[in-house]
């Protein structure tokens, strides 16, 4: 069977033009995907059934047993952590927030180790952004700062920027100027008209200088900043000020270096400053296909995009205190539910050591690093392959994930729904 216009559940590009062929309960072919999407659709390494850790290995358990065991672990805890959420659909994320509220848990998503700092920056200065189609149709200057779309968002340049057809551009590729700013010459940098190589940790200083230069304070800027010559900075300022539409994209190059959200804030304020001269927008290159959805869901349900502590009943928010890395590293939780992410592959080892010492339940279709650190893993359908639901693209556009396979696996919504209902029975309304 052939399905057109399927969504790719991999990265924040959320491409929705994929053709998928499925035969005999498996995906047998895909078209239009990048390598990342292809591997996800064709991957076939699912966990077959729930597994539970025993004293000397692993045993298979039923879904009923798994749910009962999950309840025990979470209801007994004084400070459970519910972490992950970016690899599932919005409907499941909603149940997660209700669950956190009922349990008095901390709920955090993977944006705390991805674009969490961007959110902190936005909370200080706001976010002049747009949907990706605005960029595609109008932007004549594209800046990629601290990101590497060729490896992390492979179709970004062909769908939305450099190579995309645009209504107001005669020849998109020729008419656009692409500037890449990074600490190394990535493959993306090879495709740029201008490559700015910056010393690691120097982004903040360079962004401050650019802001001052856009404001006409050129004279006080030293000849070189963090390895970038003033001449090159001047050139960039000229390109941006003369642009009709300047679109900045930034990645975790800004959020993961020292200074974190201050780097992002400085980039946003540069765009604010440019907005006084021309049209300028800025967009974070969100990683997982629905990490932004998790922020959206958390926000309308609880008021905050991530790192929400419901221990006292009300929602309390303070990244740095209520974020997963901090809680795990300080050993401040006594049980964890991991949904649709793999912290053991992506968090510092001190966090993982704590996971090894507390009850951990993981809900995920695939065996992963966290499998080795959980007491129980419950496999589910894969969102976007055998489960439907809502996902939010990196620019906030919500699209419905399609389903191309029938499945015996429960979806995240079904499984979490059952767990939540069972919790309500115990805790009461």
């Amino acid at each position: 069977m052939k399905f057109d216009d399927v969504l790719c559940p991999f990265c924040g590009c959320l491409c929705d033009d994929i053709t998928v062929t499925a035969e005999g309960g498996r995906v047998t072919g895909v078209d239009n995907t990048c390598l990342l999407g292809t591997s996800k659709f064709l991957g076939d390494n699912r966990l077959k059934n729930p597994i539970m850790r025993t004293d000397d290995g692993w045993k298979d358990v039923t879904y009923d047993e798994a749910i009962a065991s999950t309840l025990d672990a979470l209801l007994e805890a004084d400070r459970p952590l519910l972490y992950g959420w970016s690899g599932t659909h919005g409907e499941a994320q909603c149940i997660g927030v209700h669950m956190a509220e009922l349990l008095g848990a901390v709920i955090d998503n993977t944006s705390s180790v991805c674009h969490g700092p961007s959110i902190l920056a936005i909370q200080e200065v706001g976010h002049p952004g747009c949907t990706l189609g605005q960029v595609k149709n109008r932007a004549d200057v594209i800046i990629y700062w601290g990101c590497n779309p060729t490896e992390a968002h492979p179709r970004h340049m062909s769908r939305y920027t450099t190579y995309a057809d645009g209504y107001f551009l005669d020849n998109a590729f020729r008419d656009r100027t692409v500037i890449v700013v990074d600490v190394r010459r990535t493959e993306t940098a090879e495709l740029a008209d201008v490559f700015v190589e910056i010393k690691p940790g120097g982004d903040y200083a360079v962004l401050s200088a650019l802001r001052a230069m856009v404001r006409g304070r050129d004279e006080m800027i030293p000849d070189s900043i963090a390895g970038v010559s003033k001449e090159q900075l001047r050139h960039i300022v000229e390109i941006c000020k003369n642009a009709k539409f300047c679109a900045v994209f930034f990645g975790v190059g800004l959020t993961m270096t020292r200074g974190k959200y201050k780097n992002v804030r400085n980039a946003i304020e540069l765009v604010d400053e440019l907005s006084r001269h021309t049209k300028a927008t800025i967009t974070p290159m969100r990683g997982h296909f629905n990490v932004y959805g998790s922020n959206e869901v958390n926000t309308w349900m609880s008021g905050y995009p991530y790192a929400i502590d419901f221990c006292r009943g009300i929602a309390f928010y303070n990244p740095g205190e209520t974020t997963a890395v901090d809680i795990l590293a300080r050993k401040e939780c006594d049980a964890a539910l991991i949904v649709a992410s793999d912290p053991a592959a992506h968090l510092p080892s001190k966090c993982i050591r704590h996971l090894a010492n507390i009850p951990v339940v993981q809900i995920d279709p695939y065996p992963n690093m966290t499998t080795a650190f959980c007491n129980l893993q419950i496999p589910v359908a894969v969102s976007g392959i055998d489960a439907e639901g809502t996902a939010y693209r990196m620019d906030g556009v919500p699209i419905r994930l399609r389903k191309v396979l029938e499945t015996e696996y429960p979806t995240d919504t079904m499984l979490l729904g059952r767990i939540y209902e069972a919790m309500m029975e115990v805790r009461g309304r």
Binding site: D78, A212, R217, M220, K262, E269, C311
Partner: protein, 258 residues
Amino acid sequence: MMRVLLEVKPRKKPLLPIEAECITPASFLEERDLTVWKGNRELMLSNVFNVSVTGEVDSVDGVEVVLRGETSRIKRVGEYMEGGRIIIEDDIGMHCGNFMSGGRIEVHGNAAAWLGREMRGGEIICHGDAGDYCASGYRGEKRGMRGGRVEVCGNAGDFAGEHLSGGSLIIHGDAGDFPGVEMRGGEIMIFGDCTRACGNMTGGRCHVFGTVHEMLPTFRNMGEVVHEDTGQVLTAFRGDVANRGKGNLFVGNYQYME
């Protein structure tokens, strides 16, 4: 004079934080049950502390609360405190003295992050080191600490005095990255070193008597001045020019990145 001694009892899960915003001098003036939270469980204050009260007073200014034992995971002590004294004999957890408007808190050990967040008045003295965001503000809020005085005898972490808009912050040791970032008023004194002082400041005064590493390029050098109290020669800067800033930054030594 009333003296309240709170001694931490041994705990089964000693690393789980306790939220104890009820620990303020005023709380002990009234006859009421005080509770604290351990994660999602509400506990009587006496479940966590041995509480002994001696003496009687009718004003909060005569109350002294002493915390003894392993208090490094006790959060929010002295929140909204308006008068009296709190003495912490060892380390204290996060958010000590949040929103404090009067009285005095003395920490003999180290203080965790957010010491004196959004402080309005009164005084905090930390004899050890302070964590990140000492005397800072809340996420998304334009103004951080607005009044009062925080003195740290050791080092302070990153983002000290972020969004400072009034009052004074004194750090005798080193400050980390971005002290005084976004500050718009008030005063910071750092006797040791730091990096990237006062990024994006719009107002207020900051003195760094040691060295500012990775000095930001968007501060205008106004020449040398002699500091009145210490006689030290400092370089005066004005900025942050990235943001029409009118803040004053005085530094002993400075190095740009590279």
